[in-house]
Amino acid sequence: MKGALAVYQKELRLYFRSPIAYFVMAIFLVGTGYFFTYSIFLTGNARMTETFQNMAILLLLVLPVVSMRLFTSEYNGRTMELLATLPLRPWQIVLGKFAGAVTILLLMTAGTLIDVVPLYLFGNPEGMTILSGYIGFILLGMTCLAIGQLFSALTQNQIVAALITVAVLLAFWFIANAQRFQTSYAWRNVLGYLSFSRHFEEFVQGLVRTESVIFYLVVCAIVLVLNTSYLRWQR
């Protein structure tokens, strides 16, 4: 675990020594603030439902920028040779980097809490629904980061890594739309189950179902294991 912690600390330092983390957070918070203000004035309801839905789309576009450098920068800076020859196991490298990126996600999420303040000041929102939305948001974000991290390991180019990640994330977000082209009941079920948006929708509505929590965690775990296996295979 010590090795993973060392990688984690290094990743955080690197994030905050480059402008990327600040830009991403700024864009995300400005975007979220805009969606929040817009939804509140449009609906007149003290709730976060619409804001969460827009935040999720924004997340799919912004998180690949956070994850794109995780491995590509190691390849381009020729530091992968150091990481691979230090007494670090591949899972420690993968976990340390993932934890670093998740910390950025948590900071971004914490920044949006400011939107909740006026809800409580001027209305009477449902606290548990908002909490459930945030849980879904973080789980979705973690899954996006894991996928982004895998593509960052698979290519040497940051832009390519980000673009592929965005494409894959959007595909999983809209995959449920393909249901209407399927006549097979089983396939319709599979497509619905794989949809990131379907599971997220439940959290937004205040429903924390074990099935959805496990879905995101399992996807996360599978992708991180693939990432670890790829590092091992590289040797």
Binding site: V7, Q9, M80, L86, P87
Partner: protein, 308 residues
Amino acid sequence: MITLESVSKRYGSQTVIHDLSFSVEKGEIVGFLGPNGSGKTTTLRMIAGYTTASAGRVSVAGYDMATQNDTAASHIGYLPEHPPLYDTLDVTAYLRFVAKAKGVARSEVASEFDRVVAACRLEDVARREIYKLSKGYRQRVGLAQALLGKPQVLLLDEPTIGLDPGQLHEARDIIRSFGAEHAVLFSTHILSEVTMICKRVAIINNGRLLAIDSPSGLQQALEQTNRVSLQVTAPVDELRQELLSVDGVRSVEVEADGDRLQVECQIEPRDGVEAAIARAVAPRWPLHSLGRQEPTLENIFLQYVSEG
């Protein structure tokens, strides 16, 4: 400490390392000589565990790099050809990260940091971001990270490249000081460096080990193919015949240089052959110079590489 047994490395259908075997013991500094693309870096990467051997066995500190790579890594300090540095970190943050990743105990990180910073003379730049450092300092930071955690084995890929003469001297001192207690394998292009630092030299070309011996041992081995060079003004064919008739001359190469002929004779390794050549040539033609070439390490290297 480092043992390679019949190691080969293939990339697809191309074999870049062929059946390489040698070992480096504790307290020994071995120089790894070879032209560009000869397989030095690939060999060092296999020993460091960055890539695996396609065939054969690499072991470091008793651990098989194919199966116990993670355990062996804590005994290895490795400086790749391009120092692996995080440009936006400062030297302190970078070295602390490497120390922690190497498993240096929390209580010892500070003392270990001080030790390598002093050994590599990095005190003045300890707080500076790495991207602001000169090439020489970057190389030294790379060397410092390799020394962290007191590894038993040091693998240095061209550690002195890009250093000015003063820094070169310091870097050699550092390597020499660590050679007493560690097994050090370092690759270089600079031949004089090898004679200054190394106990043994391994010469590699096209992925094959051509020779491994002490610098003086290599010299002795090549004295068996000693050369005598002479400058004479004479007709080429007659001179060649005359020289080949001298007892002890194996072959003759003649090159015209204006009026004079530049002649290289391959002779048998015994005394008196030069004198016999002089006796044969001097009475008939003007002999301008005659001398026996002592094989320098450079000649040895070039000869091995051209033969290999």
